[in-house]
Symmetry: C2
Subunit: 260 residues, 2 copies
Amino acid sequence: MTFPTALDVRTACRNGLLTTPTPGYAPGYVQANLVVLPRDWAFDFLLFCQRNCKPCPLLDVTDAGDEEPRMIAPDADLRTDLPAYRVWQNGECVAEPIDVKTYWRDDLVSFLIGCSFTFENALVQQNIPVRHIEENRNVPMYRTNIACRAAGRFHGPMVVSMRPLTSAHAIQATTICARYPLAHGAPIHFGDPAAIGIPDIDKPDFGEAVTIHPGEIPVFWACGVTPQAALMTAKPPFAITHKPGHMFLSNLRDHDLQTD
Amino acid sequence: MTFPTALDVRTACRNGLLTTPTPGYAPGYVQANLVVLPRDWAFDFLLFCQRNCKPCPLLDVTDAGDEEPRMIAPDADLRTDLPAYRVWQNGECVAEPIDVKTYWRDDLVSFLIGCSFTFENALVQQNIPVRHIEENRNVPMYRTNIACRAAGRFHGPMVVSMRPLTSAHAIQATTICARYPLAHGAPIHFGDPAAIGIPDIDKPDFGEAVTIHPGEIPVFWACGVTPQAALMTAKPPFAITHKPGHMFLSNLRDHDLQTD
């Protein structure tokens, strides 16, 4: 199956036909992380995003109970239009369903957060290799020892995604990604994984490991799975997120997020 | 009196020695609008800012009761360090004190919002005239017929600031200001004031009128007084803001807000 547009991806998800990670899908459309929280946890989380805009750049926030992200994809349904979800209770993932219709409540506020899959399209167009796309895997993601700024009940480590690059490609990728601040922007680290608290580059905490060729260094970007690490520490009674790598496809185009 | 740094301005305010508008003060330091609301109104307002980032670009949001904007000016005191304030009850301005110590409460959340005075320094350095600085006045500000996106109980018209420029300067100013998205960015309109619902350019709703020379057109930017118009419609029982033009001086430097 190929999915030329965001609507194609969402429709396939809604019909249960697409339940896999979305890197490289509907190229040119902005992908988004999802965090859904009860209204009484929403201010703390919105503040967490405001204070940690590198891992958590906000693209849209719904009114309580509204399943439609009206700014970035009117007519979409956040309960059905992602390939896979995680349902959280007291900071633990208790289910990974392919829709969350039975879990939905009138007091839920949904947060859509920018995703690095957006700038990957720009990298590919510049002939910069994106290894997990080449190897048809989910991107590798890691918890770090970099603390986010706390906000109310939310705190926790920054999660990063990793792409192996030569130093020349790393420099090119840095200037390209800096133009997408709403898709995590420039990298936050390259080189030694241990310097940011990653013990084993071959064992990501989320997603899948990828090959690092001789002459390549790991390059790390702030990642929209960071809120899931914050959910584990804050332990709200209830939450929904996307399953890492299984993103929401918005109607925004990559160039909508690009600065001059 | 001259005020080379933000700290000089804040200290003079704290000692009651500075109670005037701040355009051109402490050049190179980022100025900010202030909105202070009770905790139970804070989510709606944070969402209003997220949905209306052109008039309301957030620089910092405090924890409830905290008088210190820890991200942009640690050690500052928001209760004393602005030249003048407005105190609001049920959507009406009921006082314009020079400090708000006696009004302060433990449940107040403070929002610091970017200000066009930041990019004015860049304009002046490019020899683009800023009329209200030349004429030693407060900037003229107007309510428009452009509706903000509603968020919870907050809705209302966008407020704009105006600077008269030749068309050549307007083009230059547009490219310069676009690099400061956290200081309202590029203009939102130029030319006919009536096209955005301004009946009389010589009668601003906030601040002071300035001279428009022959060959100049009015150029309009989204303005951080927009939340004050939203307060008038939402009518929260209690709020504090800066007095228009009487800004908070942060420790951020202009280049901190500049994109590449």
